[in-house]
Point group: C2
Chain length 210, copies 2
Amino acid sequence: MKLYDCQMAPNPRRVRIFIAEKGLPLPKVEVSILDGDNLKPEFLRINPRGLLPVLELDDGTVLDETVAICRYLEETHPEPNLMGATPLERATIESWQRHMEFDGLQAVSEVVRNSIPVFSSRGLAGTTQVPAIPALVERGTASMARFFTRIEQRLHETEFVAGNRFTIADITALCVIDTAQNFVKMPIPASNTSTQRWYAAVSSRPSAKA
Amino acid sequence: MKLYDCQMAPNPRRVRIFIAEKGLPLPKVEVSILDGDNLKPEFLRINPRGLLPVLELDDGTVLDETVAICRYLEETHPEPNLMGATPLERATIESWQRHMEFDGLQAVSEVVRNSIPVFSSRGLAGTTQVPAIPALVERGTASMARFFTRIEQRLHETEFVAGNRFTIADITALCVIDTAQNFVKMPIPASNTSTQRWYAAVSSRPSAKA
């Protein structure tokens, strides 16, 4: 297997953390989104959508979607479990994972894609040429404020995002928060002490360096 | 089990079609999004996000997310299989399912939420009061044109969206296309003959009436 990766982007990092938690050695090929290498013909031959990450299996089969890649790795390398051990636990973790995507990752992506100059004609990820929409910076910023409120309420009640143990939902949330802090200077509010407690815990796991 | 449902909305319909394919009898409670019943206290007690569908299990456990609900039903009622029978098939179907969401459902939702007057202060689903952004109608319309091109290319090569059989990816795609046609008058382009062939087949399944 081989992972087409991009160090600075949240979706490839989600897979890198997932792989690190599983303890899998996996060769990586760096493709720079900032330099637009994901939009060049040699990468578009691998993924015509121009999106990262991509997992290429040994027989050449390509998986081109973050959570689908994680699910494949979860099922082929079940330990440690990151996506649930029973039907109800799997559904609960999937709900939280998707809430972190829709509440958080989409919100911060709206801010990043519509405010950072390198993306001024790349308002949507991939090959599409879409102009930035300034009103989405305001909408995304407000959505991120709601995300911070919701995750604080959740983490006041539970140790991790999906319950009492680390799962793929924490990986998505961590990548949302680091993107918000590092790219558009939206840190966790200082008064959100449950989120700060959780962030300190998940950030200190060895996988967070991935 | 009990499904909190909304006849006119695409996400509840995805679950209704899924349930119909499984042949499950499942009591449904209608909650009108157009009338804002999803934002009233009695529904917010069930799902504080104000989103539909919601599956309530017999013990009161609530699953509040479309695909998580489908996965729970898939694993507890495995036949007919709609989400894959092997790790690679499950990952492939999940990739296509998510492409239908990100390429299609998000695009048509951008157009619907930002152009239909009833949603003028509900630009995002759920309890959030967000003003419509007119530029998103243009962006969403262009994204839908790309969606139609991509699904035509795919269905020129394969009988169904994720391969040679009907899966959850077809359910998502069908709900995208019916929403586009019925809400914002964006039918499948007449020249997209592979998509027309697929649409005729999936629309004539008894589950499509769900």
